[in-house]
């Protein structure tokens, strides 16, 4: 019985002109989005790889100078691009592309791509994730709004129920029929999308991530299959079902995500520039300043060090005091900057909780979280890169200060190092988080999506069991 209903539903959907037109439109748009996306990753990856090489060249070929001057000269790290960013750009456009690594400072990354684009870019860009996340659910609503309401209006529902078709079977039949129609389009889309992974740079892990991505989107679309059947079963007439289905889509895909953002921002505001740097400035004053010998903390450390080594002046220490104090200053500065960075990340985590609560009303939020994380274009991946760059900065500056401490005499600021030394310094070799590291952030979103799918299905069953024929 279920398969009969499913087959009938599937056939009647296929025969409808709106299905054919919507399929054609959606397919064209998906192909366009792939065309637009195919070189996004390759181009960005190439530019950033070249930039990293050039930056390394600048570092190695800098003119001969004192190691601490080199630490101030600094170098750059460039945000990596990942293969699946062609599918979902996530927060890429809103995170900085370049990070200046220098002594004494944990800089913020600069140059967000969004600031170079026009205000119209905020209205959305056509990517595969946009098609599947925003347009495809509307396609499902348009296909399915008349599934029950149409039967009711035409009088078929009365006949069906009179012939002993139970509401549960009716629901499963309708859901399966609609789901088959959805899969008819979604499956080729997801297979086509996988073609993007044939481009150079994609590895086995990217295929695994893509598989999970596809699963997330299928679950998401399944939620909309349930939602549209719920609305159709509830509405008395097709017109009402259509308006209500559209309203649900607008609420889930447009209103809730934006409203959640504003609530999160107002509930847990991020600090202003003034507040953030005032806090840092105050904390920096509570520790060693490597550039100021008169600083109280520097003098205290000097006294303790002289006592420790049993000498009466810094010239008699077995290492270069200048290098040593620079490094101590650096350690204090790193501690302070990290403390405030952690405070900021804590605020982000609180905001993310608001988004998580809002996702009860919108599976789109959940899917976006999972999709961004699997594509490597989420905030977590970005901060993983920043943390690795900071670790490299500490190590590089440590190398410079170490060279000053061990191989320079106290007071010798004229001594220099040349290309041979700079070429021997460690390189920044960033490894992105593997799937296992990302999984703890993805699995809750996927589980919640499963939960959404189950709960929406249960709600449908309830409504179907209370079906009215008029």
């Amino acid at each position: 019985m279920i398969s009969t209903i499913a087959r009938q539903e599937f056939r009647s959907i296929l025969r409808e002109k709106r299905f054919q037109m919507a399929t054609l439109a959606l397919s064209l748009l998906f192909l366009l989005s792939l065309y637009g996306a195919y070189d996004y990753y390759a181009s960005l990856q190439r530019q950033h790889a070249e930039a990293a090489q050039i930056a390394r060249g600048h570092w190695e070929n800098q003119k001969d100078k004192n190691p601490h001057s080199a630490a101030h000269y600094g170098t750059f790290a460039f945000k990596p691009a990942y293969p699946l960013s062609f599918f979902d750009r996530g927060v890429d456009a809103f995170t900085g592309n370049t990070l200046f690594l220098e002594a004494h400072k944990m800089n913020e990354s600069k140059y967000r791509a969004a600031t170079d684009r026009s205000e119209l870019a905020r209205m959305g860009t056509l990517t595969p994730a946009f098609i599947l996340g925003v347009l495809f659910p509307l396609f499902i609503m348009v296909l399915g709004f008349g599934a029950v309401a149409g039967e009711r209006e035409s009088g078929n529902l009365r006949l069906l129920l009179a012939q002993g078709v139970g509401p549960t079977r009716l629901f499963f039949g309708k859901a399966l029929g609609l789901w088959n129609a959805v899969l008819l389009l979604a499956a080729p889309f997801l297979l086509l999308g996988a073609l993007g992974l044939l481009l150079p740079g994609a590895g086995a892990e990217d295929w695994q991530r893509y598989f999970l991505l596809a699963l997330a989107y299928l679950l998401y679309l399944g939620c909309f299959v349930h939602l549209v059947l719920l609305v159709s079963a509830w509405a008395k007439r097709q017109n009402v079902a259509l308006v209500a289905s559209l309203g649900v889509w607008v609420f889930v895909c447009l209103i809730v995500p934006k409203a959640a953002v504003n609530v999160a921002k107002h509930q847990y505001p991020t600090p202003s520039w003034q507040m953030y740097y005032e806090g840092i400035k105050q904390d920096l004053e509570e520790g060693v300043d490597g550039h100021d010998p008169a600083d109280a903390y520097t003098q205290k450390l000097e006294k303790e060090t002289l006592q420790q080594y049993g000498v009466d002046s810094v010239q008699h220490l077995p290492f270069n005091w200048d290098g040593f104090i620079m490094q101590k200053g650096e350690e204090h500065e790193t501690y302070v900057f990290q403390k405030h960075k952690d405070g900021l990340l804590n605020i982000y985590a609180q905001q993310q909780q608001v988004h998580a609560v809002a996702s009860v009303l919108s599976p789109y939020l959940l899917t976006s979280i999972a999709s961004h994380r699997l594509a490597g274009t989420d905030v977590y991946s970005y901060h993983h890169f920043l943390a690795a760059a900071e670790k490299y900065r500490i190590a590089l500056v440590g190398e410079m200060n170490g060279e000053l401490t061990q191989n320079f005499k106290y007071g010798d600021w004229e001594g220099k190092r040349s290309k041979a030394f700079f070429a021997s310094n460690q390189r920044f070799d960033y490894q992105r988080p593997v799937l296992a590291q990302v999984w703890p952030g993805v699995s809750p979103a996927l589980l919640l999506l499963v939960g959404w799918w189950l709960v929406s299905g249960l709600a449908c069953l309830l409504i179907f069991n209370k079906l009215r024929v008029l």
Partner: protein, 473 residues
């Protein structure tokens, strides 16, 4: 006849729970959008005021310290903290002059790019340092975008119109009242036009009343010309969707078909076309990654180093009051004389790189703007952002202002330092009189051009209505 129709529309509206519910929902969304805009504006203003307040206090402290030093009441051994030094105040972290970008009050209308913009720049001898709270904004929030009034108008208002007009004519037919109406001595086209006009007058009037009340409550003066321009845009935009719904209705199909067709029109014009336009702009006018730009800046430093000898030779020839010394004989001031000598060349080289990059970004933005005519959503969104002073043009205008002020600051402080002039009370009083704000104003000119696009789109759809209405009834 029109008045009769209006009365009928009002009665129908009041008696329809769905219509009332939708209106209340839309009004609620508008209120939320205005509230968010007002809060963001208050936050930005608060941050800017806090920055200026700190600056006033800081310079008052520096002035007092400088006065003590000038009167030999105290000494400052740490030269990098000396408040009487034009170099320290002009360039180092202790000094610099902050100028804030004061957002326009109409920025409540549309967030635009304001959530990515800096709120201040600190002028220094060598350039300006950006102070931006948006550096700390959660990228997830930026990605999803703000729930502002422009979002409600662009995306939700058309749905409200469609929900209340998709069965403008088909509803009458399905109820059986259309035949009765057409049996009266009235031209069908006139009847439908009056119906649409009456409903538009009622709903457009209500939307406008809500919008203006909310903006007035948020502190925008009703005498503000840009406000009325925004109101006109919203009315035109609403009219477009009414005309589209009428054109669809006049095809004589069922209400369900009309609803689907109107929704398809909304999807195409509000969601798909803007996304396609942005994709086309990216493809037709790509902007390279700023990673390239960053390295170009560093390469420019190498070029400056290569040209330094020539620049210094010319400089010391043109400025015989300064003597060029060998490295081992140079004091601090000699190093800075040479730094200042290459500064202009360095800045002009980097400005040319920045201008070349900006030109590419402008090309992409101009390309997208040239396609405003493809979608009323694009046109109205662009116009609202421009009126709010939160678009690219506003940022560009602000940057030019800042650049001019920075050049004046740099020239003044360099002159003082090179002439060994200590900063005195007179100098600090002159600092206090320096401008501290640059205002982002609504760009009425640009927004008017957008209004013309909307008007043209309304005419096009109006033409479509006329064509479709010629069929026999």
């Amino acid at each position: 006849m029109f008045l009769l129709q209006i009365q009928h529309e009002v009665r129908q509206f009041i008696r329809s729970p769905l219509a009332l519910l939708l209106f209340v929902f839309l009004a609620g969304c508008m209120a939320f959008g205005v509230w968010n805009g007002a809060r963001d504006l208050a936050q930005k203003r608060g941050a800017a005021e806090a920055m200026l307040q700190k600056q006033t206090e800081k310079f008052a402290r520096l002035q007092a310290q400088a006065d003590s030093i000038n009167r030999n009441l105290k000494a400052e051994k740490r030269w990098w903290l000396d408040p009487t030094s034009a170099l320290v105040i002009g360039e180092f972290d202790r000094g610099g002059w902050a100028v804030v970008l004061e957002p326009a009050s109409l920025s409540i209308l549309a967030t635009g790019l304001s959530d990515l913009q800096a709120e201040a720049e600190v002028l220094k001898i060598s350039g300006s340092a950006v102070r931006s709270s948006s550096d700390f904004e959660n990228p997830v929030n930026l990605t999803f975008g703000t729930f502002d009034l422009a979002f409600v108008v662009t995306f939700l208002l058309p749905l409200f119109v469609i929900a209340l007009t998709f069965n403008l004519v088909s509803g009458e037919r399905e109820q059986g009242t259309l035949a009765l109406l057409l049996s009266q001595p009235i031209v069908a086209r006139q009847l439908f036009g009056l119906k649409m006009l009456a409903r538009f007058s009622l709903l457009g009037g209500l939307v406008l009343a809500v919008m203006l009340s909310l903006l007035a409550a948020a502190g925008i003066s009703l005498a503000e010309p840009a406000l009325w321009q925004a109101a006109g845009l919203v009315l035109l935009y609403t009219l477009f969707w009414f005309l589209l719904a009428l054109a669809v209705n006049l095809r004589g199909q069922s209400s369900a078909f009309n609803a689907l067709a109107c929704v398809a029109g909304w999807l195409l014009l509000v969601i798909v076309v803007p996304a396609l336009v942005n994709l086309a702009a990216e493809k037709a006018r790509p902007i390279p990654s700023r990673a390239v730009f960053q390295n170009d800046l560093r390469t420019a430093d190498l070029e400056v180093a290569r040209q330094k000898e020539r620049i210094l030779t010319e400089y010391f020839q043109q400025n015989p009051q300064f003597v060029r010394k060998a490295d081992e004989q140079k004091g601090d001031k000699d190093w800075w004389i040479e730094e200042f000598a290459v500064l202009d060349f360095d800045q002009s080289l980097k400005d040319s790189l920045a201008d070349a990059f900006e030109a590419k970004a402008h090309q992409q933005a101009d390309f997208a703007q040239s396609l405003l005519g493809l979608s009323p959503a694009l046109a109205v969104h662009y116009q609202l952002v421009t009126l709010a002073g939160t678009g690219r043009e506003a940022t560009g205008g602000y940057q030019q202002n800042i650049k001019k002020q920075q050049q004046e600051w740099s020239a003044s402080m360099r002159t003082k330092y090179l002439a060994d002039q200590k900063l005195t009370n007179t100098d600090y009083e002159a600092f206090a009189a320096l401008p501290t704000r640059v205002r982002a104003e609504a760009d009425m000119g640009n927004a008017a051009s957008g209004g013309w696009w909307l008007l043209m789109q309304c005419f096009l759809v109006g033409g479509l209505v006329w064509l479709v209405s010629r069929r026999p009834w």
